[in-house]
């Protein structure tokens, strides 16, 4: 087993308990998704005021909701196309709110350089999701690139808990640029192959 796989398994123990509680209480998965974004907005406020540890703790709670909504939907038999759509849309709001919190913080500190780095990281984080969504309307699957949402969220938490947000933003920016490029390359290749197969 890999190291990251082991961490995943350890984290699943408490999450199983939370999932079964939500299933027993019959909480609708779309409600869990919505609660998740509200808590993420609170995390963004904490980031905006430079309270990184508080933001980290709130992000952990918010992302528990984010993670369990899909599992609860499966266990309740409430999986729906709208649920998937709602989840994706709400995830974008969560992502954006965290970045906006940091932009507010750095602008308050008069750090235009980090306002720009955060804004660019935000742009490429959103483009990561958009390129996949758009590509999958043209090709079967577009799951390449390292920097997806779970990686981004874990990095945000690491940055908040260890006060290394600047380094985290650089990593998110560079790897998100690569991820967007990977998705464009894959889509181009797949479409070219399809065109050649038809010709």
């Amino acid at each position: 087993m890999t190291f990251t796989g082991l961490i995943g398994r350890i984290c699943m123990f408490p999450l199983r308990l939370i999932i079964s509680t939500c299933v027993r209480l019959r909480i609708h998965p779309n409600t869990l998704t919505f609660i998740g974004v509200l808590i993420n907005i609170a995390a963004a406020c904490a980031l905006a005021f430079g309270r990184f540890i508080t933001a980290g703790v709130i992000m952990v709670i918010a992302n528990i909701f984010d993670f369990i909504d899909g599992k609860v939907a499966v266990e309740l038999g409430e999986v729906s196309e709208f649920g998937g759509f709602w989840d994706s849309v709400i995830d974008r709001f969560s992502d954006l709110s965290l970045f906006i919190g940091l932009i507010f913080l750095y602008s308050q500190l008069g750090r235009t350089d980090y306002v720009m780095i955060t804004a660019l990281a935000m742009m490429f984080a959103i483009m990561t999701s958009y390129t996949r969504a758009r590509a999958e309307s043209l090709i079967k699957k577009c799951k390449v690139g390292f920097m997806e949402r779970p990686e981004r969220i874990v990095l945000f938490m690491i940055g908040a808990f260890t006060n290394r947000m600047a380094a985290v933003l650089w990593v998110i920016l560079v790897l998100s640029v690569f991820t967007v490029a990977d998705r464009i390359i894959l889509t181009y290749r797949e479409l070219r192959e399809t065109r050649q197969a038809i010709a």
Binding site: F52, R111, N163, R164, M165, A166, L175
Partner: protein
């Protein structure tokens, strides 16, 4: 990237054009590299607005001096 390419070039290409799943050893290596960058890069090098000092690298350099 074609398999005839030199190994370092292939490694670089595979790191850029990422097709590995989570929980693979390649993913673990990438995570280790990212954590090393985040935790070992002195905040002063990045002009971090919220953290200062030289971090673990600075402590190591101080120890070696």
């Amino acid at each position: 990237m074609k398999s005839q390419a030199p190994l370092p070039l292939r490694v670089l290409w595979n790191a850029f054009y990422w097709t590995y799943e989570r929980t693979t050893w390649q993913y673990d290596v990438m995570v280790a590299a990212i954590l090393a960058f985040v935790w070992l890069t002195p905040p002063d090098w990045l002009n971090d607005p919220m953290a200062s000092g030289c971090g673990p690298v600075g402590w190591l350099l101080d120890l070696l001096r």
